[in-house]
Subunit: 192 residues, 2 copies
């Protein structure tokens, strides 16, 4: 059995989770998306201890996800906003929120809906699609080694995945779903 | 200042993170997506202690994200697969992976690329879009109270967001981006 060192992994999921896997971090992003700017407001809305909040905000500024800027009409007081890197987390936050809406709420309990500003209409569910816009299910996906696959930190994991692909027979992919609006529910799980 | 009880929040982001906010959970989903089925393989690939792994898998089965099924050609040994609810996490996992590819890797370090099985082509970046398929930036989004907004656990937070919307002047939304392929990079962060 090869030795894996996940803590030093080059996997993009691991790297993203190293930064975002902390529960507070994505909630801070949520807050900024809903217009929160001030330290005191983050603390109140999230019920987070001020020292923990201070550490998390500093981490996100250092990572380039948040930036500080003067609050309008408040002189030198600083607030927080998303950088380009931070705003690019919008699909992560939205897909997480939509998944919660679909699977962890009833229609009566959903507290907030994101809508398009220009039309007031709710957003369709984010779906994995091909370049032609067709919705893809898990069975429609495959993977290939990237340029970093040979790195000693990744090679054992890539080899293990390759072995699983060879030994685990996969069913023929089912027909691609029609592009249906949310909620998205298929009859049963599809094997990879 | 109203009192917030985030630990009992009805927010879909909070609810999703209560289930997924643990670093291991999304890595377990990643493993299943890449074909891992056996307890021993999860443990080896993730370098996770067996007692922690056992707890996390049981939690995900109980929540309905994973299910057990007999491994083919191995008699009574059980493996794990995604349920419909679990497969519906694909947009979360893919957007997290794509964000890591864009912001935490260089083109030379990306170890694995997800492709469409039928064509072998890489997938375009997941983007937040309106019903017409146009890409939306943060400045193009707004929110409205849902049916659960009046719940005592949510009402203070919804009121705080509403106050922020009134006091924080928003710029006129910029023109919607052209639908560009990955990588997606705008010049600077856009204020909400």
């Amino acid at each position: 059995m090869p030795r894996f060192k996940p803590s030093e992994s080059l996997c993009s999921v691991v790297r993203s989770l190293d930064l975002l896997g902390d529960r507070w971090t994505l909630l801070l992003i949520r807050e900024v998306v809903f217009g929160t700017r001030r330290f005191d407001d983050f603390a109140a809305h999230l019920g987070i201890a001020r020292n923990v909040l201070s550490t998390r905000l500093a981490k996100l500024v250092e990572a380039g996800v948040l930036m500080q800027e003067p609050l309008q009409a408040e002189g030198r007081r600083q607030g927080y906003r998303l950088t380009e890197m931070g705003e690019d987390l919008l699909p992560v936050l939205m897909s997480l929120m939509q998944w919660g809406d679909r699977w962890l709420q009833t229609p009566e309990t959903i507290p907030i809906r994101i809508v398009e500003r220009a039309t007031g209409k709710p957003l369709p569910a984010l779906r994995v699609r091909n370049a032609a816009g067709q919705v893809l299910a898990l069975a429609d996906l495959d993977w290939e080694p990237g340029p970093g696959a040979g790195n000693p930190l990744m090679a054992p994991l890539v080899a293990a995945y390759e072995a699983q692909r060879r030994t685990g027979p996969r069913p023929v992919p089912e027909a691609v779903d029609e592009d249906t609006p949310t909620p998205v529910r298929r009859k049963k799980a599809v094997k990879l």
